[in-house]
Point group: C2
Chain length 252, copies 2
DNA sequence: GTGTGGCATTGACGCAGATCAAAGGGGTGC
DNA sequence: GCACCCCTTTGATCTGCGTCAATGCCACAC
């Protein structure tokens, strides 16, 4: 295998990488959810192939023309927006089975950046062709709408977090969310590696990296988690969850 | 006209209220955007009629079964999420031509509350029928996707605001956003009535109502705006915009 | 294996915004 | 038209997180 692909060069589509949706163990988490065999085969036929990314590579950048959405096959991504005045906000972290790029539909250009946080693979789903197929397969159309709606609901959850929670509550919510998503993918819900830096966590949670680090340390001191650099083990799940209760424990 | 509709009773659909999309002066801002006459007539035929709401009434509540999305014909709404632990976050304010309810698609149940902040009217758009029609009219399908994508992009903007801005920057961004949206609807960009309370603004911006009030007062003291209760006039638009520049004026 | 630079941790201090409190005004409902 | 209550404003004080700073560690490249 040639090793002449530089890390800062965007790799071309790799047709050999293609794995049929029907053979994919992520299909229940991903776009094909709910399709029967025949329709899944039709979806297979439009998936444009895969693309591999090294850690640090951009899947797309704000301003890029929108052509496809992407399904994460393996690896880990972050998305972030940056404004002309230099602000930078991480808007999400995406793992296997999750869909990236729907921000680009509205303006025909991507409005955020998507970066691989570890070596990753995605499936390309050409959007025009997806719309065409989804007008023929009702369950595909409806599931696409659900995926977009789920993204909206997720964003509302982040707004809630950013608008109403204190630092330790935010970090607890973040860890519980990761735990639940790893669990849904067959990984341990209680022990995992963070793929992102303290600064990226901080950006996502609206905190400074020092505050994130201190919150990690505090959680460890209190026996809620065990943390060493990027390795996290949740020791007391119940107590971690209880941090999300309101300060005064009121019921309504 | 009978006056026996209590404010806390959800009004039934009012077929007489129906106004055809083709006759609606909001069509360029709303779902019919980009449709030709024939397709607009087909969209007309599925719009389920209108619904009037008094100030304070809920259009839908979290947990309600999802059946329709709604287009605001007139008036003003807020949407908010509340968690079981009592947190409350306003996720948006919606005005004429904007679409409400897309949060409900993913789970078949609404995940937030939508409340009229003044007497308002909406068009009901039954979602199953909309999907059916959009599978026949490609431009309608694509525009629906754009509307959903735009909501995602808008949410990213709010995350940016909540995650990176200080109080006065948030309020400036909020006022500029309202100004721009009023302007797009033919109203004055520089003078308008706020339909929401300081507390609702604060919830949306992740601030306490006192902080919002103080920021308003400060803006007035500095000659940026003139504000009296809910009436706002933007006096120095350029300087208001300049508040969104980064603290140190750095370029990259 | 070793060197290096990005990443993480921890401490001291300051400040923006939260909290607590009180008073006044205007819109709303009767 | 009137009264009441919610909304808003403003002040004083407190505090959680940001900022600044220094040290240490680990992962990665060579």
């Amino acid at each position: 295998m040639h090793a002449n692909v530089k890390q800062n060069v965007v790799p071309l589509i790799t047709p050999g990488l293609k794995v049929a949706c029907s053979q994919c163990n992520l299909r229940e988490l991903c776009l094909p959810f709910g399709l029967d065999d025949r329709d899944m085969a039709r979806l297979d036929s439009l998936i444009g192939g895969g693309r591999k990314l090294k850690r640090g590579q951009h899947l797309y950048r704000a301003g890029d023309a929108f052509e496809s959405i992407f399904a994460v096959r393996s690896g880990f991504f972050k998305t972030d927006v940056l404004t002309e005045d230099g602000r930078d906000q991480v808007t999400g972290f995406q793992m296997a089975g999750e869909i990236l790029g729907m921000d680009g539909i509205s303006t025909e250009h991507h409005t955020c950046n998507a970066v691989a946080l570890e070596d990753s693979e995605v499936c390309l789903i050409p959007f025009t062709e997806l719309e065409l197929l989804s007008s023929e397969i009702h369950s595909l159309q409806h599931h696409l709408h659900k995926v977009m709606s789920r993204e909206i609901v997720r964003d509302h959850g982040v707004m809630m977090l950013l608008g109403t929670m204190r630092a330790e509550e935010r970090l607890a919510a973040f860890l519980l969310n990761l735990s639940q998503r790893f669990s849904a993918r067959g990984y341990s819900p209680s022990e995992f590696h963070l793929r992102m830096t303290r600064e990226e966590i901080g950006s996502y949670l609206g905190l400074k990296l020092e505050t994130v680090s201190r919150a990690f340390s505090r959680f460890q001191d209190e026996g809620l988690i065990s943390v060493q650099q990027k390795h996290v083990r949740i020791v007391d799940l119940a107590r971690l969850k209880s941090l999300l209760a309101p300060p005064d424990g009121r019921i309504a």
